[in-house]
Point group: C2
C-alpha cells in the first residue's frame, strides 16, 4: 500500500539504516549512495512515517499551540505569525482551540498533548494549576499575553504603561468622567484585565479624579459585549464623556451602541481602544497599538531556541513596544454648559 523505508532500501540495494541516515542528512553515508537514495525515495514518493520516527527517536517535531478562540482577530493573528515560524523550522502545529471553560478544563486534565509534542505555546497565560499541568509535560513552554510566570518564556507588553497612555490622553483632553469597558472573560487568573484596571485607577487618582464604580462595565472582549457594556454606561445618571475599552473589539461594540443612541463620536463621547485591530484604522479608532503578529513570531522563535539548546536558553520575559495611535474617536469634551 504505502511505501516504507524498507521499500526504498530494497530498491536502492542498501539497508534501512542507511536510508534513514541518508535522508536525514546524517554522516556515515557516501555522497554517491546518498544521491541514489534521495532520487529513488523521491521517485517512490516516500515520506517517513512520523508515528514511527517519533516512537523511535522520541522527538515528534510537533508543537502544541493552545489558543482561546482562534476566531478572534488578536489570537488569529498571533497564531498566524507563530505558525509561520514553526513551519519554516520544520515543525508541525497541533492546534487546541479552547473556546469554552469546559473544553479548557478538559484539555488541562486529559492533557492530550502528552507525548505528542516537543514544546507548547500557549496564547494566553495559563493559571497556576494549568501551568503545573503543562510543566509536567517536561517540554519547553512559552506563552504570550500576560505577566511573567516561572518556567515559561513569556512575551507580552507593558499593560500598565499602555493603559496609562490611553487614559492619560483622555484626561489631557479635559475629560473628568471617564468610563472603562473591561473584559474579565471569565478567567480570573489572567493578569491583563487586572493590570489595565490598575493603571486606569492610577491615572484617575493621579489626576485627582474620583473613581466612580458605576463607570466600569464588563464587555467580555467581544463586540457584542462592548455594545452591552456601553449601554450600561449610558444608563447611569451622569454618563461618561469618554470611554476606555480594553480591546478594540469592545470599543467597536461601544461605537455601535453610541450610534444607536444617536450620539456623536467624538463630539458627545470619546472612545479609545486597545490592540490596533486591523480595522481600527478603517473606523478611525484611537487606540493603543501593540505588535500582535510580532509577539507570536517572537514567542515562537524563543521556543525554538529553547528546543535547540535545552540547557543554554533559560525562559525569559520580553516586553514588546506599544504606542498610542491618535485617530478620530477622541476629542475634548463637548461644552454642554454647566453641569
Amino acid at each position: 500500500m504505502t511505501v516504507s523505508i524498507t521499500d526504498v532500501a530494497r530498491a536502492t540495494g542498501v539497508s534501512a539504516s542507511t536510508v534513514s541516515r541518508a535522508l536525514r542528512g546524517q554522516p556515515g553515508v557516501s555522497d554517491e549512495v546518498r544521491d541514489r537514495i534521495t532520487t529513488i525515495a523521491a521517485r517512490l514518493g516516500y515520506t517517513a512515517s512520523r508515528s514511527a520516527s517519533s516512537l523511535a527517536s522520541g522527538r515528534t517535531f510537533t508543537i502544541g499551540v493552545v489558543v482561546p478562540y482562534v476566531g478572534r482577530w488578536f489570537f488569529g493573528t498571533v497564531l498566524d505569525a507563530a505558525e509561520r515560524v514553526f513551519s519554516a523550522a520544520g515543525y508541525d502545529v497541533l492546534l487546541y482551540n479552547l473556546g469554552s471553560p469546559e473544553t479548557r478544563k478538559r484539555f488541562f486534565t486529559k492533557m492530550p498533548v502528552r507525548k505528542r509534542v516537543d514544546a507548547v505555546l500557549s496564547l494566553l497565560i495559563p493559571d497556576e494549576e494549568e501551568s503545573f499541568a503543562l510543566r509536567s509535560l517536561g517540554v519547553p513552554l512559552a506563552t504570550t499575553v500576560g505577566g511573567p510566570r516561572p518556567g515559561f518564556t513569556v512575551v507580552g507588553i507593558d499593560d500598565h504603561a499602555g493603559t496609562e497612555s490611553a487614559v492619560r490622553h483622555l484626561v489631557n483632553l479635559g475629560h473628568r468622567r471617564i468610563g472603562m469597558i473591561s473584559g474579565s472573560s471569565g478567567l480570573q487568573h489572567w493578569t491583563t484585565p487586572v493590570e489595565r484596571r490598575r493603571a486606569y485607577l492610577d491615572v484617575l487618582a493621579d489626576a485627582g479624579i474620583e473613581h466612580d464604580p458605576a463607570l466600569e462595565a464588563d464587555g467580555d472582549y467581544t463586540v457584542e459585549g462592548g455594545e452591552r457594556a456601553m449601554m450600561e454606561l449610558l444608563a447611569v445618571s451622569r454618563p461618561p464623556t469618554a470611554v476606555f475599552a480594553q480591546s478594540d473589539e469592545m470599543a467597536m461594540g461601544a461605537l455601535r451602541a453610541l450610534r444607536r443612541h444617536r450620539l456623536k463620536v467624538p463630539d458627545d463621547v470619546s472612545v479609545v481602544g486597545f490592540d490596533d485591530h486591523e480595522l481600527a484604522d478603517v473606523i478611525g479608532l484611537t487606540t493603543v497599538a501593540q505588535p500582535v503578529a510580532g509577539q507570536g513570531a517572537e514567542a515562537a522563535r524563543l521556543l525554538l531556541r529553547q528546543l535547540d539548546e535545552p540547557e543554554a536558553e533559560p525562559p525569559r520575559h520580553v516586553q514588546m513596544p506599544i504606542r498610542l495611535v491618535l485617530r478620530e474617536t477622541t476629542a475634548p469634551p463637548y461644552p454642554r454648559g454647566p453641569q
Copy 2:
C-alpha cells in the same frame, strides 16, 4: 521517565493487552478488572503514546486542516467552528497555514501530512494538481469555499446567486455605473472570484447596462487592497456611483479610501460587501451574509461521517443559505444634475 502501558499493567497485575483493551472500552475485559485498570492508570497519570498507537493501529486520530491565512476573519472563523467539531469527536487538529504561494507549493509537494492524518479539511478549494496530491493520501477529504470537486465533500454557497442579489440591489436603487472590487488572490483556479464576476456581468447585461472594464479593480481580499482598488476606481474619468466588493474586508478598505477622499457613503457612493463580517454591523455595511462558522462545522461533520462509514458516505456538495443584509452603505445615486 514517563509512564507506559506496561507500567500500568504491572501495577494492576494484568497484561498490557488487557490494559489497552480496558482503556479503549473494548470488550473482553471484566468490569471489575476494567475499573481497577482505570483507577490505577489515572493515579499514575498514564496517557497512551499517540505515536505508538498510531503506528500499531494505523489510525492517527488527527485531522489535517489546510488554511490560507488563519489571521483573516473568514478563515479564522471557519477554522474555529471546524476545530470544535473535531476535538469534540476526539480528533486532534494539525494546522497548516499556507499564507504564501511558496509555502502552499511546498506543502503540496512535500505532503507533510502523509501518514500523519486520518482525513484532510481544506478551507480553500485546491486546484487540480493539489487535489491530485491530496487524493494520493488515500484519506477522506473535505473542503469549504469553492465549487464541486470530484472526490471531495465540499460545502459552500451559491456565489452566483449571492452576487446577483447584491448587484441587483444596486441596480434597483437606480445605479448605472457600478464598479466591482474583486480578489484574485493569486490563485487562478479558485472558482469564487470567477463565479462572482460572472454574476456581476450577468446582472449588468440583464439590466441593459454596458460593462465598463475600467470599473473593475483587484483588491486582493484585504483591507489595504480594497483601499487601493477604490482609489483606482475613483481615478477613472467617470467614477462609479456604487461599488460591489467581493469581500467585506475589501469593502471596508473601500470605505476608508472614500473617507480619505471626503466622499460621503452612501450619498456619493454606495458600497456593498460580501460575507457579513463580524464588524460589518458596526460599520453599517450592506452585505451578502453567509454562514461562515456554519460552513466550517458542517464540513467537519461530513468529514467525520465519512471517517465513520468509509463506504456508505460518498462525498457530496452542499450549499448553505445566503441573504442580502441591508444596512447603511447603500442608497439611490445622488442626483448630481445632468452628467
